[in-house]
């Protein structure tokens, strides 16, 4: 593994609705590593991911991906970098005027000159991975929530990005399907050295897929470590979060 981290976030501050949703956040994600970000609903996890792909401009701080500061890139350079960063949105954000097949083929049609048969083949292959074989011609509105989530995942992985940001990829999926997605995330890491940031509430999958786990609480990272370190953490916020207890510093 390359020593230089793939993603370096320094002093990231993001203001939304008049308050700091993220305040001086620092994170490093090594090449080929999977970082899991946990935290309460509304703490700013999706906001963090959106900053990392340049969809939100932070008030302060830098986000360096592959040596480039994403907060300072020109639109054309940002687009170039984005070809290498996949994002799975929390709301699946499928294009509802396109079929599932067209959604999944989107990146290939936009950014490659592959022949149509090849595109069809890749689309079928990716849909099979997320267990949506033969659903190319359906529209997103004809899929269930979980199926949309999986189609959205397929759309993200078709172009083989080196960095993938997953916003709650298993939320709303049954346990078996969740496990399929966890296996997929680990497979992409193993086979293609994909660097991942996974936002999840699912502790089981967090401990399974994460090389590092970071806990976001009240705009800052209160703890970061390996799954073992997190399990043994003495931090009361982390302890309360992973035991799901009603008692502790987190007000419910």
């Amino acid at each position: 593994m390359n020593k230089e981290p793939m993603i370096t976030i320094r002093n990231l501050t993001m203001r939304l609705g008049g308050r700091d949703v993220l305040h001086n956040v620092n994170l490093e994600i090594g090449r080929g590593e999977t970082l899991v970000v946990m935290g309460l609903s509304g703490v700013g996890k999706s906001t963090l991911l959106k900053c990392m792909t340049g969809l939100l401009k932070p008030a302060n701080g830098t986000i360096i991906i592959e040596g480039k500061d994403i907060t300072k890139l020109k639109p054309a350079e940002l687009n170039e970098l984005r070809k290498n960063i996949g994002m799975v949105f929390q709301s699946p954000a499928l294009f509802d005027s396109l079929t599932v097949g067209e959604n999944v083929a989107f990146g290939l049609r936009e950014h490659t000159r592959l022949p149509e048969e090849e595109i069809q083949r890749i689309v079928a292959e990716k849909l099979a991975i997320v267990d949506l074989e033969g659903m190319e011609s359906l529209f997103p509105s004809q899929l269930s929530g979980g199926m949309q989530k999986r189609a959205s995942l397929a759309r993200t992985i078709t172009t083989n990005p080196e960095v993938i940001l997953y916003d709650e990829p298993t939320t709303g999926l049954d346990p078996i399907m969740s496990n399929v997605i966890n296996e997929l995330i680990m497979y992409l890491q193993k086979e293609f050295s994909v660097t991942s940031v996974v936002v999840t509430h699912d502790l089981e999958s967090a401990f399974k897929i994460g090389n590092q786990i970071a806990m976001l609480y009240e705009a800052v990272i209160v703890e970061k470590g390996s799954p073992e370190e997190i399990k043994k953490s003495e931090n009361p916020v982390v302890k309360q979060f992973i035991t799901g207890s009603a008692l502790g510093p987190i007000k419910v």
Binding site: K50, T53, G54, L55, P75, N79, E80, R82, K83, I85, G86, M87, F89, S91, A93, L94, F95, D96, S97, F106, G107, E110, H111, R155
Partner: protein
């Protein structure tokens, strides 16, 4: 009092921000078109949608507008014994003013609102974010095809509108004022010159740009969920119509000066 002034100041700032946003979108759109970054398939698709959505309502509204115009004109003209000039009057009014204006207003209500609703709902469901995350520029992918479709289709619809309005006028002139069709047509031939047609179409190109930019801008800047989409759509129609009226006056004063 201070609050009123402050409020007023704030709205003026917002107005300029809004106009600035429109101008910026216009320049960006022209930039993509200038670089030849046009998606033929998407553009043709939008042209088809716009044409199909609007042709019937454009033809019906302008036919009746021409009819009512002819009704009023013919009444007066026949009274003064100049019924043979009605055709020219109706045609000039249609081709210079009512054809381009009514078409633009109808399209703003029918197709402009649809554009805002579509882009607005894409915005609030994060599809625009997804587009950008997939390294695709939303102006290039969404705005340019819609802009070009408006620029091509609205003048075409305007020609249909001119034809429908004049025909409507002719029919009314014949049945209600007894003006023979050949007299009506002759009057048109003697009055209308080709440059009237071109100038009318020039106006409709300006209206088309206004409709496309306002409706796309409103859509791309939608916030606040489904309710926000409704507000953005209403705003799109209102702002388009205001712009059409203002620019129509300015263009008419410039293109058709009083000698």
């Amino acid at each position: 009092m201070l609050i009123i002034i402050e409020d007023f100041g704030l709205s003026v700032i917002r107005l300029f921000e809004y106009i600035g946003g429109l101008v910026f979108l216009f320049l960006e759109t022209l930039g993509w078109i200038g670089r030849g970054s046009i998606r033929p398939r998407l553009t043709v698709e939008q042209m088809a949608i716009l044409g199909v959505n609007s042709i019937l309502i454009v033809v019906v509204t302008t036919a009746f507008a021409g009819a009512v115009l002819s009704l009023e004109l013919a009444k007066q003209a026949v009274k003064f014994g100049v019924g043979r000039y009605v055709g020219g009057g109706v045609a000039i009014a249609m081709i210079r003013e009512f054809g381009p204006m009514l078409t633009a207003i109808v399209v703003a209500g029918r197709a402009g609102s649809a554009i805002t609703a579509e882009l607005g709902s894409m915005k609030v469901t994060e599809q625009i974010d997804a587009l950008m995350a997939l390294a695709t520029n939303p102006v290039r992918y969404l705005v340019v095809p819609r802009f070009l479709a408006c620029i091509v289709m609205i003048p075409m619809l305007t020609m249909f509108a001119n034809l429908a309005g004049t025909t409507g006028g002719g029919i009314v002139a014949y049945f209600l004022a007894g003006i023979e069709p050949h007299i009506f047509l002759n009057s048109i031939k003697n009055t209308v010159i080709l440059s009237d047609l071109w100038r009318g179409l020039d106006k409709s190109i300006v209206f088309a740009a206004e409709i496309a930019l306002v409706s796309c801008f409103q859509g791309l800047n939608t916030t606040g969920g489904a309710a926000g989409v409704g507000q953005a759509t209403t705003g799109s129609v209102v702002y388009s119509i205001i712009l059409i009226f203002i620019s129509n006056f300015l263009l008419s004063a410039w293109l058709f000066p009083i000698h």
